[in-house]
Symmetry: C2
């Protein structure tokens, strides 16, 4: 994660304690926290940190591609720090838990030219849904 801090610094980011804490909170695999959870965990280490700062920092991290936003139907956005290695998601329809997964095959190639409607298709996002062992 100090890699991340280095990359941020080289982009001209000021390394404030708030940004450092947000980056630390997002460290790890299979991490898919909501903004509120990020705020909660960040506040445990830095009690004065504000919600606005967490939203700002997450938004900036998403903008520069260090973090992905995961869209979840009807729930708060989740933030996925594993942006540097391509992967897809498996989501529990019961509790909302998310795991990173790596399907085989080439989903982009599975979309025929005739189905592209003139779009310049650049990426594909796949979400598998089902019940996790705990919810089943």
């Amino acid at each position: 994660m100090s890699d991340l801090l280095q990359r941020l610094r080289s982009r001209g980011w000021r390394l404030t304690s708030q940004r450092r804490v947000v980056a630390e909170v997002l460290d790890g695999d299979h991490v898919h926290l909501t903004a509120d959870e990020v705020h909660l965990r960040a506040a445990a280490r830095l009690p004065e940190i504000s919600r606005a700062t967490v939203y700002n920092t997450l938004g900036e991290l998403v903008a520069i591609g260090e973090v992905l936003e995961v869209s979840t139907v009807g729930r708060a956005k989740r933030y996925d720090p594993n942006a540097r290695r391509p992967h897809q998601h498996l989501m529990c329809s019961g509790c909302g838990m998310i795991r990173d997964v790596h399907p085989v095959g080439n989903a982009l190639g599975d979309l025929p030219e005739s189905e592209r409607f003139g779009f310049a298709v650049g990426s594909v996002e796949i979400t598998y849904r089902g019940l996790c062992p705990a919810c089943a």
Copy 2:
């Protein structure tokens, strides 16, 4: 769409003017309206219809599988009446326009057992992203 009304009646639904209007608004292909847009269009035909009723009706239609909720990163949910024929989505990163698409291949089968983490995987949702001709 009168098919839909018949199916709803056979499920014991009362066919109120409000429900009829919501069903009419959702008629067609490549329709992906937000709840607010549904309300706007419904109100054009039935000015007294309330937001709560639109939300209720959409929720019920989703619950019985006649309409799909489409997750869009960050924006309001969209409702897709084309629930009876399986399809995926192609979304413009510029303007947010959505088209229904039909990829070849078997995305569900592309997820190896070792990547399922004990989940009972039931469905897969694929969103292709790119720029539409107008935005490119």
